[in-house]
């Protein structure tokens, strides 16, 4: 008792001494401790990292950070996109694929690393799911029996990429997240990611566990480790104890089924990929793509529809193509010259492509890289009607337009220097000459300007 009393007294003394010594400091640390505990106690460590990554992703995709290439970061982390576009023959810079290969390495050892820590789309889905089950009290539908469609998608995409067209590269969740914010300002690019999120209201986990190609990619990257673990597990299992019957039967059957599915998916993907160009419609003059876009077939294949270039374009002349001549180009960015032109002091769209569909160009390179070629229809030109106009010459940043006297027409005629014109469309935007007379009688006739930008042959 004595000893105990003494100990208590000593400790009380010590406590009182402590208090008297550093009362303020103690208070502060108490406060800090309270807040830190409040912050950490509500959710687990992983949740906090996920919310942090959502914040970072938002900052990068909106973009809130003053860095031109910010929007590239998230889609460029995806090994699914990197492997797919490499197989489809993306040239471009190694720096694009460096980040993805690092991530791939991590994913090989940490199972579904991106899903558990990074994926902002997954977090949004989780939020949607929990909100819906709390408020609407849906009955949870089990998606356990749904086959792993994501694996098939990945194989189809990669095999398709190797054979000509990466079929589902655009389903990458990071680029979908990017499209959600890059495309939210205009057009309909946000529809697919919104559908994906809305899906989790009814069928939570369906996308993440069964459909997501990035999740499937991570599973595949993890295969060596999984396989080795399974090996060690079976070795550890005592030979004296027989393997349960369901294991003996089930494992080979599942393995056989899945490998058959993989072969089928890969073969189908390769077949579709190689035929996609022909299946997707007739050859027609290729549409106008952003400067630095790779060859049209390649572009339609490599573009992951993330909306980065649309968002990066300051005059907003890039819009997704929802009525393409060829199905392959659906929702790929298209240059429109009805409101503005491709600025001579800007190469923003060439800096943000995460899949190599648009080459990284310096400003000088971009100026020489043609979008198309201007074409002048003199019949619609104001000069054909003796009006005073020189706006195309004045606005052309490349000084590609000049006027030449024609004795035949007895007026001056705009002349185009084909080598100088880079199809920026400044003349098209400025041109006041159109087919007004034609539309007066019939408003259904589309407006046609005296200058148009057409694809170079």
């Amino acid at each position: 008792m004595k000893a105990a009393d003494q100990r208590r007294a000593r400790s009380e003394n010590g406590l009182s001494e402590n208090r008297s010594d550093s009362n303020n400091a103690k208070h502060r640390s108490d406060h800090l401790h309270f807040w830190v505990r409040a912050l950490f106690a509500t959710r687990r460590q992983r949740e906090r990292v996920r919310w942090g990554m959502l914040a970072v992703s938002l900052a990068l995709c909106l973009p809130l950070v003053p860095w031109t290439k910010a929007t590239t970061v998230l889609p460029a982390l995806s090994p699914f996109v990197a492997i797919g576009s490499l197989l489809a023959g993306a040239g471009g810079t190694l720096s694009l694929f460096g980040a993805a290969s690092c991530v791939a390495l991590v994913c090989a050892f940490r199972r579904r690393f991106l899903c558990r820590f990074v994926c902002p789309l997954g977090l949004l889905q989780d939020c949607a799911a929990s909100a819906s089950f709390r408020s609407l009290s849906f009955r949870r539908v089990s998606v356990h029996r749904v086959p792993r469609i994501g694996h098939w998608l990945v194989l189809m995409t990669w095999c398709g990429a190797a054979c000509g067209f990466p079929l589902f590269l655009w389903l990458d969740p990071f680029s979908l997240f990017s499209a959600l914010f890059g495309g939210v300002y205009r057009d309909w690019l946000w529809v697919v990611p919104t559908v994906v999120i809305a899906m989790s209201l009814v069928l939570p986990q369906l996308w993440c566990t069964k459909l997501c190609p990035l999740g499937a990619t991570q599973d595949m990257l993890h295969w060596p480790v999984t396989w080795r673990r399974r090996q060690t597990c079976s070795k550890k299992r005592s030979p004296l104890r027989p393997t349960p019957l369901h294991d003996r039967v089930a494992v080979p059957r599942r393995a056989a089924m899945s490998s058959a599915g993989f072969v089928l998916a890969g073969g189908l993907g390769g077949l579709l990929g190689s035929r996609f160009r022909r299946l997707s419609g007739q050859e027609s003059p290729p549409p106008l793509r952003p400067p630095g876009a790779v060859d049209e077939d390649q572009f339609a294949a490599l573009c992951i529809r993330c909306g980065n270039c649309l968002q990066a374009c300051p005059p907003k002349i890039l819009r997704p193509d929802f009525a393409p001549n060829r199905f392959a180009g659906l929702a790929a960015p298209l240059v429109h010259f009805d409101t503005d032109y491709c600025r001579e002091d800007c190469h923003a769209c060439t800096q943000v492509c995460p899949s190599g569909a648009i080459d990284r160009l310096t400003l000088e390179q971009k100026l020489k890289h043609p979008i198309g070629l201007a074409q002048i229809e003199f019949n619609l030109c104001l000069l054909a009607y003796d009006k005073e106009c020189e706006i195309c010459e004045r606005v052309c940043p490349m000084e590609a337009i000049s006027f030449a006297w024609s004795e035949q027409e007895y007026t001056v005629i705009p002349q185009l220097d084909v080598d100088r014109c880079n199809g920026c469309g400044a003349c098209v935007v400025a041109c006041p000459g159109d087919n007004k007379w034609e539309r007066k009688g019939n408003p259904n006739i589309p407006r046609r300007k005296a200058i148009t930008i057409n694809q170079r042959n």
Partner: protein
């Protein structure tokens, strides 16, 4: 040739009694000299032959003898050329308190905007449908508004078209209201120099060769005749020279005959007069200072105009259209450009370059451009003093020509030059040393827009 004239004819000529006979007969060098001397004499008085000093031919070269030119007038501000820039310069200077004289080679005010049938007021507004041409230019348009059939299409964001005669009338009235001395039919020929300072000009008219002395001279000839004669640095340029014209009876056109078809070419655009269109013409790049070129082009253009009107008449429904008039004055777009202390460049204008000595703000043709400053330095020659220019000849690079030369911008730069000359006279300083804040103040008083 003179030897063929009889004594009686000699007497008749010297007496100045039979001008008709002279016109019908051979026009000789002697006869011309006689006419010149006659004009100096009061009407009805026998001409003084002793003062006649004809040019002589020495070794194949024409030599003009040294002679005294009568100085008939003294003024504070002398405006040479009464085009859009000149009229505005004269009015601005007169309103600034200066005694102003204006010398014009044709019989009217307005230059190309009336005599040249450049009837569209092009370039007085900028992006956002903001009108930058204010001051005297806007006053002219407001006065035209009050006239019946003076101006048409006058609304925001549209380029209005004026009637040439209405504009002649309005500018004439404005010049008269300000009490400006006017010399029409007078072709300015030479600058009177005192070292580097311009003291006046010599001009040619039916009254012979005469001089006007002035404190400040504003060269608004468009061709920069005076600054060239004064020896100021300048550039000569070739640009389209055309000949606009007007066609009539467009209200009698039967459009049902050409329904759905493209309208015929050379139909022109509306004017305030119903049924009358004006048709612009571009013409080839030519030297507007080469008289043979001008003569050749004039005749070519007239032939072409006749062809164009016939072509128009052959279009179904347009049979009644006829050629009303061709412009009395050729449409020289750019000929000389001063090398001023500041030069306007298209790059600068595109980048929205602003000047400290901004004395005016220019617009763009279809309001497709932001506003741009006209600096005082672009009106001011590098070496010559007491001489300003305005209108299409101010200092600019070739790419700027199309912005500089349009009517509203000539109004603006003209008003600026006039105000600056008035301030220089008031303060008794060289045009180069004029106080820019005072000029801007005067311009703002005159409701000019300075950005």
């Amino acid at each position: 040739m003179t030897s063929r004239l009889s004594r009686r004819e000699w007497m008749q000529l010297y007496g100045g009694a039979t001008i008709g006979g002279l016109a019908a007969g051979s026009v000789s060098g002697v006869a011309r000299a006689d006419l010149a001397s006659r004009n100096d004499a009061p009407a009805g008085v026998q001409a003084d032959v002793t003062g006649v000093q004809p040019c002589s031919l020495v070794n194949g070269q024409v030599i003009q003898p040294q002679k005294v030119i009568p100085s008939i007038h003294n003024t504070e501000v002398l405006v040479v050329g009464a085009g859009p820039a000149g009229t505005c310069a004269a009015i601005a200077a007169a309103r600034g308190g200066a005694k102003v004289t204006i010398v014009e080679r044709y019989n009217h005010f307005g230059g190309l905007s009336t005599g040249g049938l450049v009837l569209v007021i092009l370039g007085h507004w900028v992006t956002g449908k903001k009108q930058v041409t204010q001051g005297i230019g806007e006053e002219i348009m407001q006065r035209l508004d009050k006239l019946d059939r003076g101006i048409v299409n006058r609304r925001d964001g549209v380029n209005p078209t004026v009637d040439a005669e209405a504009l002649k009338h309005v500018t004439g009235e404005m010049v008269l209201e300000e009490g400006i001395d006017v010399f029409l039919h007078s072709w300015a020929a030479e600058a009177i120099m005192d070292d580097n300072v311009v003291r006046g000009i010599v001009f040619q008219s039916k009254s012979g060769r005469q001089a006007i002395l002035a404190d400040q001279v504003i060269d608004t000839t468009g061709d920069g005749d005076i600054f060239a004669a004064a020896g100021a640095d300048h550039e000569r340029r070739k640009y389209h020279i055309g000949l606009p014209y007007r066609i009539g009876n467009l209200d009698r056109v039967d459009r049902s005959k050409s329904n759905g078809q493209r309208p015929p070419r050379h139909i022109g655009s509306v004017t305030p007069i119903p049924g009358v269109n004006w048709v612009n013409m571009h013409g080839p790049d030519a030297d507007g200072l080469d008289v043979r070129e001008l003569s050749r082009l004039e005749l070519n253009h007239r032939r072409q105009i006749w062809k164009q009107v016939e072509q128009l008449r052959s279009t179904p429904g347009y049979e009644e259209v006829y050629l009303m008039e061709t412009a009395p004055q050729m449409g020289v777009r750019i000929s000389r450009a001063l090398k001023g202390t500041e030069n306007l460049t298209l790059d600068g204008v595109k980048k929205g370059q602003r000047f400290v000595d901004c004395v005016g703000v220019g617009g763009a043709w279809n309001g497709d451009h932001q506003e741009w400053d006209i600096p005082y330095g672009s009106l001011l020659p590098t070496k010559i003093d007491n001489l300003l220019t305005a209108g299409r000849s101010l200092s600019h690079e070739p790419k700027m020509s199309d912005l500089i030369r349009v009517i509203p911008n000539c109004w603006v730069s003209g008003q600026a030059a006039g105000a600056a000359a008035a301030v220089a006279v008031r303060d008794n300083v060289l045009a180069r040393e004029v106080s820019i804040p005072k000029v801007r103040e005067l311009l703002l008083e005159q409701k000019a827009y300075l950005g």
